[in-house]
Symmetry: C2
Subunit: 351 residues, 2 copies
């Protein structure tokens, strides 16, 4: 699905702004019943359902800040740009239904490059069953920029916010953490090797999971249904885009509570552990601050613990305390360390 | 309302990403009943009404492409960025209710500059009665970028599209055209004068209307109600952002019809006429290709003509023909000239 096309080159200006968006989206299909009008008018039109609430989330991705095209293929970038937004919708306990995609692009990108980008967007839209209903294309004086707005729905009153965590609730995370950040480290190392020796053939096999988590992440579309099946309603929820610690802090601050997070409970993939050793990095720090995992973090009532404890997708990593007790990481050695928010940008600048 | 503040300088990095968005939006009030959750979670939440349809429109504005900060004060820029999006919602015959605002900004902008930008956004949100419910702030390696998504509602089945124009319908435009483009010409001339002589005091008084249309445009929030009062339902509608001719072409192509547009019917403000003479430009060309007027263009059935003919806001500028007859401008001399789409970008590059 993600192979590259040949290197033909068509200048964007040959198509013009109106031609370009029509060209890039001509194969996109409308599948959602609620989409009344997609691309091609002043605005998109969606039907409403009084039994539902509407979810709106928006994100900007910039070349040189959020992605590096020297190791991020455009098709993967398009895919990831969609995932990042859908993850926010799932974090509200909602189902995404539509997205709008705006891009600013310099004319160093041929039309074929944008076709790759949109092929990735289309692939994600298909897999996650969302319609691309609008957008804007414009020229940029510098790099590439992608702005996506995701729209979703949730049954009335069933949206889950960041502010519902209560003392004694359990802190639960889906999947495992830190892999996307370690994938980035591996790719950046290979980029440096490539600069020195352009003929080197990187062996990424031992890092396959890490690289996939960085280049082709998925959003947790399964969790909302899983929780329904388990008959568990989280008291608060957020997605992990900036790193576990900053997301826990968001929940605690919004819910006016404290927490104890146990270092030895944080779920890590074996590749994360071995690659952290290889890079001489502390794996817990990476999980806490790495970001881009797009897993979900939520809190549940203690009485719901039996319902989730055997589930391979879910790990209890701590519990909520009174606000006065503060937010702490309990280290393997039993030391209580205050949690601080260090997003992946901060980590990058310091490392 | 649009005075500038003193020149204090706070570095963005002092606030950090999370602090920045909280700081910039702390005075924003939620006024729409439908806004359940605004800024501060993974996504915003809006209530739905089965009697309504939802309208979604999105636009990107880039420094160096869509605006020049050397004559566009940041407060005006914030205001205009909102207007551009609301205009698309009004063009669907809908009422805007919420917006999301994402910005990418380089750290050459102090926090005070962003406060000015957000003061403009807040002013527009207040006047047009929309809630700012979300957004994203990120660092940019170069200039300033603003991405806005506007959300609105319209009664079920009452959205007006581009594709409903029928043969013999009348082509109607609101307000007058070409002023925003001529305002840009005046400002660009003053910028050149300023480069040569930084002490020059420009006299913009004779161009006040033009400059205001460029720097502080308004969206036609009055037209939807006006048409209801007049008991007229347009058969198609679009807003004039790229210039009259390209908007007419959009309507004709989407509706599969042709048109005759009469040059002598195009509404021009006296300042446009006199300033075009001064700049040795043809005022009809400016109205056709200038863009950024944010007026509405629509078609009505011939039998509705008596209802609108006396209205000072509305001007009939032509009529719809069979598709085979093509799209034409009938010049003052009676010559039939094929309409071509030349957006303001094209005009700028050629002029």
């Amino acid at each position: 699905m993600f192979e590259n096309k040949g290197n033909s080159n068509t200048n964007i200006e040959n198509l013009g702004e109106f031609g370009l968006i029509d060209h890039l989206t001509k194969n996109f299909k409308i599948k959602q019943k609620s989409t009344i009008k997609g691309i091609g008018d002043d605005a998109a039109v969606i039907s409403c359902d009084s039994e539902k609430e509407l979810i709106i989330s928006t994100d900007l991705l910039l070349e040189g800040v959020h992605f590096d095209l020297s190791y991020m293929p455009l098709k993967h970038l398009g895919y990831k740009a969609v995932i990042v937004n859908l993850s926010d919708v799932y974090a509200m306990n909602a189902e995404p239904s539509q997205i709008t995609v705006s891009i600013a692009v310099s004319n160093r990108f041929p039309v074929e490059a944008l076709e790759e980008l949109y092929a990735g967007i289309e692939a994600a839209a298909k897999i996650y069953n969302v319609d691309v209903i609008g957008g804007d294309t414009t020229s940029s004086t510098t790099g590439l920029l992608i702005s996506i707005t995701a729209i979703g729905t949730v049954n009335k009153g069933e949206a889950i916010y960041r502010n519902g965590a209560k003392e004694n609730d359990l802190l639960v995370v889906t999947g495992d953490l830190g892999a996307a950040y370690m994938g980035l480290q591996v790719l950046e190392r290979e980029k440096e090797v490539f600069k020195v020796n352009p003929n080197s053939q990187p062996d990424l096999e031992p890092y396959s999971y890490l690289v996939e988590r960085q280049l082709k992440p998925e959003a947790r579309k399964d969790i909302s249904n899983l929780l329904k099946e388990l008959d568990v309603k989280p008291t608060s929820m957020i997605d992990i885009s900036d790193g576990l610690s900053s997301e826990i802090i968001h929940i605690c601050k919004n819910s006016k509570v404290g927490c104890n997070l146990f270092e030895d409970k944080i779920p890590l993939d074996p590749q994360v552990v071995s690659t952290c050793e290889e890079f001489n990095l502390d794996s817990a720090t990476i999980a806490l601050s790495g970001g881009e995992d797009y897993e979900l973090l939520f809190t549940i009532k203690t009485e719901d613990y039996p319902k989730i404890k055997a589930n391979p997708h879910l790990t209890v990593i701590g519990h909520i305390t009174d606000e006065k007790e503060g937010m702490h990481l309990i280290s393997r050695a039993g030391t209580k360390i205050p949690l601080i928010a260090r997003g992946w940008n901060a980590l990058k600048n310091n490392g």
